[in-house]
Symmetry: C2
Subunit: 234 residues, 2 copies
DNA sequence: ACCTGAACACCGTTCAAGT
DNA sequence: ACCTGAACACCGTTCAAGT
């Protein structure tokens, strides 16, 4: 007949559910976000959530939009390359704050409205920077998930990597994977000497990003078009 | 006291389990590969699988290695760029044959021996092509999962996309996402006119790959080093 | 000693029973 | 009419009971 005190004081809403879900994922990883655990965190029965969100897919989409909304708006008065670079690095910051986000976005099959809006804005930056519609289209594909700050590494090194343990592993694999060991040994050496960037995630991300952006700028200057060239990037 | 006829005729083995699991995933998607369904497909009780594979993680690792083993060996007598390009396109072919593979690889946290061997071989190709150890290291990061043929698109377009339906969607979103609609409309137009590549996955993949490889070749020629430059890719 | 069926601890979601 | 607890159909894996 009457709602419980807890519910009246703090009524459920899509916003509160989403906020709690994001906090839960930030703290305990995405696996700790189940409809059951989320309901428990909110002090309600699991089925109560279904009054505010249709299903778990909608919950995940909402969580993505929370992260995407943390991306800074585009800066004004900058050349296209600087502006795009800044925005992508901002997206990367947002993504790094929520370690679960990239995995969740990858698992989705259709983009959320916030992601579409972000992509639309990014396309606008490219077009107003002087890129043709044709080039812009291919550039969006070439940047791909990197637009949202994805590092696109094959294996993200697990957080708990003891340097001494890693060095031992490198020595052990030098027989089986000689080339890999050679590169890994060099990175170790660099880190010890503090001479240059050994294996800094941020450096690697910017290295790849700049490689692409510089190549794209060259195509823009050359008025490259997919219609007029046999090769993609001569 | 005696094994069943089925089991005696076709005894379980890690190889047979893996082969069946890959076939099952190829046919019905990765979700149809559960220990229970896999056992059913093999005509055994679920627990029988655990005699040959430790757990589901080991099964997934084994499935990955099956796909990776389908990648062609490196071609001989080619310059590094052509050789690397060919090999990555071969990896992409293997990956496209098994639509579940990229998702499964992404979900793993540690690389399998076959993946390590492939990466080791790829590093060897770069080093013997004249790239420094330093540059090779950053190049491996920059290529990232693209080395295995990942397209790194933000959203892989679902297989069932009706062109007419897509055109309607583009017109509908032109108000909310004007820039996106502009690019999408251009792609539609191109496809109709058969003038150039509208949105061919293979073209987009090669476009991005060549953008990176050409940029890398330029760095090699310039003897670029992460120690001697402030900017990653000047 | 060995194999295996039942059981455990989960999951997202449905549905009918109770107020 | 509405809310919700039990139930359904799964999942990977454990474990003890039976042969």
């Amino acid at each position: 007949m009457e709602q419980t005190e807890g519910a009246r004081r703090n009524p459920l809403s899509p916003g509160r559910i989403l906020h709690t879900a994001v906090a839960l994922a930030d703290e305990g990883g995405i696996d700790s976000v189940s409809m059951r655990k989320l309901a428990q965190e909110l002090g309600v029965v699991p089925m109560a959530l279904y009054k505010h969100i249709a299903n778990k897919d909608e919950l995940l989409d909402g969580m993505i939009d929370v992260v995407v909304s943390e991306i800074d708006p585009p800066g004004a008065g900058l050349d296209w390359k600087t502006a795009v670079r800044q925005r992508i690095l901002s997206a990367r910051r947002a993504l790094l704050c929520h370690t679960w986000a990239s995995r969740v976005i990858e698992s989705r099959t259709t983009p959320t409205p916030a992601v579409l809006a972000y992509m639309d804005s990014m396309i606008g930056m490219l077009l107003s920077g002087g890129l043709s519609v044709d080039l812009t289209h291919h550039v969006m594909h070439a940047l791909g998930s990197r637009i949202l700050g994805f590092s696109q590494e094959l294996f993200t090194p697990s957080a708990s990597v003891d340097p001494r343990e890693a060095a031992t592993a490198v020595r052990a694999m030098s027989g089986t994977y000689p080339h890999l060991a050679k590169v890994a040994a060099r990175v170790d050496h660099d880190e010890g000497a503090v001479v240059g960037p050994g294996c800094d995630d941020q450096f690697e991300f910017e290295f790849a990003l700049d490689l692409l952006l510089d190549g794209i700028e060259a195509l823009r200057v050359r008025r490259w078009s997919s219609h007029s060239s046999q090769q993609a990037a001569p």
